[in-house]
Amino acid sequence: MKITRKDFLRLSGLSILAAGAKQAVRAVEQERLTKSRPAARAVRWGMAVDLKKCREKDGCNACVHACNSAHNIPQFADRAHEVKWIWTEPFATVFPFAKGSYSTESDSGVPVPLMCNHCANPPCTRVCPTQATWKRGDGIVMMDWHRCIGCRYCIAACPYGSRSFNWQDPRPAIANINPEFPTRTKGVVEKCNFCEERLARGQKPACVDACPQGIFTFGNLADPDSELRQLLRARFAVQRQPELGTGPSIYYLV
């Protein structure tokens, strides 16, 4: 096929016009969508953890067990190779401001459930060289275990120690495999996914449902009328190291 100069110019002109038209149509459509959707529909999932209620039931690990069995989390004897999505640490370890101060002496040993903070500005997604971890529109920080190359840059970047690496094949170390959730392979990073698979079915996260004390209040941080926001207005709550600018979505009621 031979294209003359005239043909070429005509074609290019038409292509540019078509591309411009497409953009315009998309913009109009976008505006129509945003208008039809009320502002309250914006979602940012978050959670409040009532440490006072948690303290009342000493030695309870129901949330950890529920998460472990829901997500096929391997149990290794060697602490070095641990994989954990939710676990507990003493209060003074989690909140450095409480270290060595008399005012929080009474609380320093209280166990605090820890998990991914699903930050508003996550350092882990910023450093990932393959976009294997990213933040969803609803605030959940996701992991693609099939894309992750296992460089562990995200582990270095996370200020909360919320990410685990599969140092070896995890499958032999899972007691009962839950067929409804994928298992992982060696050499990839994983972490709490805020039970996005349960949220998609309209359920609450496994830890929330498992807690006998009801210490977890899961909800929409973007909705000022949500139960979560009302609770945060009523009680004094802290986040883990908010001074780092990460904007954690997990609040601890103290």
Binding site: A80, K99, P129, T130, C148, C151, C158, Q168, D169
Partner: protein, 385 residues
Amino acid sequence: MFMIEKAFKGGREYWIWLTCLLSIIVIGFCFYLRQLDAGLAITGLSRDVSWGLYIAQFTFFVGVAASAVMVVLPYYLHDAKEFGRVAILGEFLAISAVVVCMLFIFVDLGQPARILNIILYPSPRSLMFWDMISLSGYLLLNAIMAFVSLRAEYEESRAPQWIKPLALISIPWAVSIHTVTAFLYSGLAGRSFWLTAILAPRFLASAFAAGPALLILLCLALEKFASYDAGKEAIKKLAVIMTYAMAMNVFFVLVETFTVLYSGIPEHLEHFKYLYFGLDGSFNLVAWMWTSMLFAIAAVVLLLTPAWRGRFLPLACVLVFLSLLLDKGLGLIVGGFVPSPLGSVTHYAPTLPECCIVAGIWALGAFLITVFYKIVLVVRKGVAG
């Protein structure tokens, strides 16, 4: 183009040396196959210390690669003729060092088969993406410069004119590879040990000390084993560069130490405590860190004393190289992870397989340098004779 046939001519010692290196490479490779099968669990790495010897060695050798600029800059920019015989050695050292760096990254990956994902899903917000670009660009620049100018020498013609702009580009490029590598660490909010603006300058200073130290030792080895004279003047100038770079590095370390000690912020302080005094019963890096510091001081004293700097130059080079290898190739990375963000102190010691893989990569680097330098020597001797 690569004149690889020149590397097949050599005496008995040459072949024995290459065979030794090759056997270390094979041992390292076998351990790597084991790691590939069993996972990184066979290393000393853990949930808390998730980067160790591999990444630390990568960091150190990026510095060695960048230091080629210390011969390229005087030779191409200031027309320093005395670097004529050593410039190409620096370029080949850079090529070998970049290959070593890339291998250290590769063996650290949990899923190495997916490495192309870095290119398939380019992420300009990640410093690792820029590190890949700067390292591969630097490798390409040095490979072109070294082989084209060597070819010209072989054909007894002048190197093409376009080599000079490439050499000039490679100067800031060398600075960029090590700056980007420092930014990998210094941009992480949760790791207070690395969160300091002095990290990149410190990386450059230590690179411009460790690289020339290695280059001087290589030149001296060439003189001894291959009776190739790289030029007394060049070695002397390299020694001066190394001296001031090392002095600057020591100064930068002291500046950082002062800031951390005097401000006394526990988050920053604890990493130093762990490295130099031990923390929570973990003392395994203390001896190494003090060795590194003593070597650094001894080297600076030797190099700054007029009566000693000539006589003890080889010793001073060894001290500089080892001091920085321990500081940057071990302590700097492990120290950033201990204590962890949650304050736990986790013991890290490289395992036997890990050390063998590291030794294998070193041997591969030495193998490349040997072959490259052999080609240079055969070409130059052929031209001279």
